[in-house]
Amino acid sequence: MWTQLGVLAALAGSMACMAQDNDITWLDYREGLRVAKATHKPIFLEFRCEA
């Protein structure tokens, strides 16, 4: 499972504020809070160790 999720996540590549992952746009935490507030959407937050 983590391999699959890792692939899902790894496709985003960098720590950029907005990263494109297939069809998913990943935001950093502060930007995510701002967008969630503006769009009234919930947040799906991933903590991921890249070491």
Binding site: M1, V7, D23, T25, G32, T39, H40, F47, R48, E50
Partner: protein, 348 residues
């Protein structure tokens, strides 16, 4: 492509704002408190930083047991239900935990921030325990043996279905849990995922004798009182590669009552038989134990409130780097030998 827009997962994720955190420098780790030895972990929450649920968690044997796409879809679906309740003002937010930021952790500042190194998840847990040990407040039952294993109390989940029970054995079977039940609460707190269950199980007082698990069965809610077995909190620490536990370079198994009686040992003692000796034990000067040796006492002590083996006694009662004198039965003769534990050095 694992999450195209037209897949179920893709459709679900499009209803969320997706956020990724890969270093914890400025994260409120108090809010997202968890077992930090999970390399990947998820939260569903709202813009007011109120957490709906967790997704992730592992057992000692494998990081993959409780996580798959199907159970993630179940969790994401439930997250949307809870968020809808929040938007309607019908969701009761949990009490927020005390904030904690990595820069408030002296050892992390000294050893990680000062070197401009990455504040990785596991470092939070590692340095919390080191600090607790330095401050004399490390409770090993709670802080070292994190994330108790639900299999210890007899729960095998039908993982793709979320918290639906596949098999109920031991303590939970005795309490009335049945295959097909859906676990709905843990000691009174609603749970939606394995991550929630593991987090709540970790919060149970290690000296507790009973646990209350709410289940849904055929549309009805039932609460089960589960009698916790001895050492329900115990887990294999091996995968925790930066733990503060004293490394002993051997593993053992408890002697049976019959074996103890045959050797004339105390029935309630922690006498154990060595079943594995690390390759480098002798080179490291750790000890000269051999497979088959029976450890009867450590520093003259033969029984303990919690330990059922010599290894567990040492892990609970000694600090990493401490030495101890072992009473050992080898080839029918009782001998003494010294054991030197060692500290597992941190990766970062």
């Amino acid at each position: 492509m694992l999450s195209p827009k037209d897949s179920l997962l893709g459709k679900q994720l499009s209803q969320y704002v997706c956020v990724r955190v890969v270093r914890l420098d400025d994260v409120n780790v108090g809010l997202f408190e968890r077992d930090w030895n999970n390399a990947i972990y998820f939260f569903m929450l709202n813009a007011d930083e109120q957490i709906y649920m967790r997704y992730g968690g592992r057992e000692s044997a494998s990081p993959d047991t409780y996580n798959n796409m199907e159970s993630l879809e179940v969790a994401l679906k439930q997250g949307l239900v809870l968020h809808d309740q929040y938007l309607k003002g019908e969701w009761k937010a949990p009490e927020p935990p005390k904030p904690l930021y990595p820069r408030e952790m002296p050892l992390l500042v000294e050893r990680t921030f000062a070197r401009h190194a990455c504040v990785e998840c596991h470092l939070i847990g590692d340095f919390q325990n080191l600090q607790r040990e330095q401050d004399g407040v490390l409770d090993k039952l709670t802080h070292l043996y994190r994330s108790p294993d639900i299999k210890t109390i007899g729960i095998w989940l039908d993982v793709p279905k979320g918290l639906v029970v596949k098999e109920a054995k031991g303590a939970v079977a005795a309490a009335g849990m049945k295959p097909g039940d859906r676990i709905a609460s843990w000691d009174g707190t609603p749970v939606w995922t394995f991550g929630d269950v593991q987090y709540r199980f970790d919060k149970v007082d290690r000296r507790a004798k009973e646990l209350h698990i709410g289940v849904e069965r055929d549309g009805h809610a039932t609460e089960l009182s589960v009698a916790l077995p001895p050492r329900w909190w115990w887990t294999d620490l091996t995968f925790r590669q930066s733990s503060v536990d004293p490394r002993t370079d051997f593993s053992d198994r408890p002697l049976t009552d019959e074996e103890k009686a045959k050797l004339g040992l105390k029935a309630d003692g922690f006498a154990s038989q060595v079943k594995y000796v690390a390759e480098f034990a002798k080179i490291r000067g750790a000890h000269e134990l051999k497979v088959g040796d029976i450890i009867v006492a450590v520093d003259g002590v033969e029984r303990d409130e919690f330990a059922n083996t010599a290894d567990l006694f040492i892990k609970l009662r000694k600090k990493a780097g401490d030495s101890a004198m072992l009473d050992v039965i080898r080839d029918g003769k009782r001998v003494q030998m010294k054991l030197n534990t060692h500290v597992l050095s941190f990766r970062k």
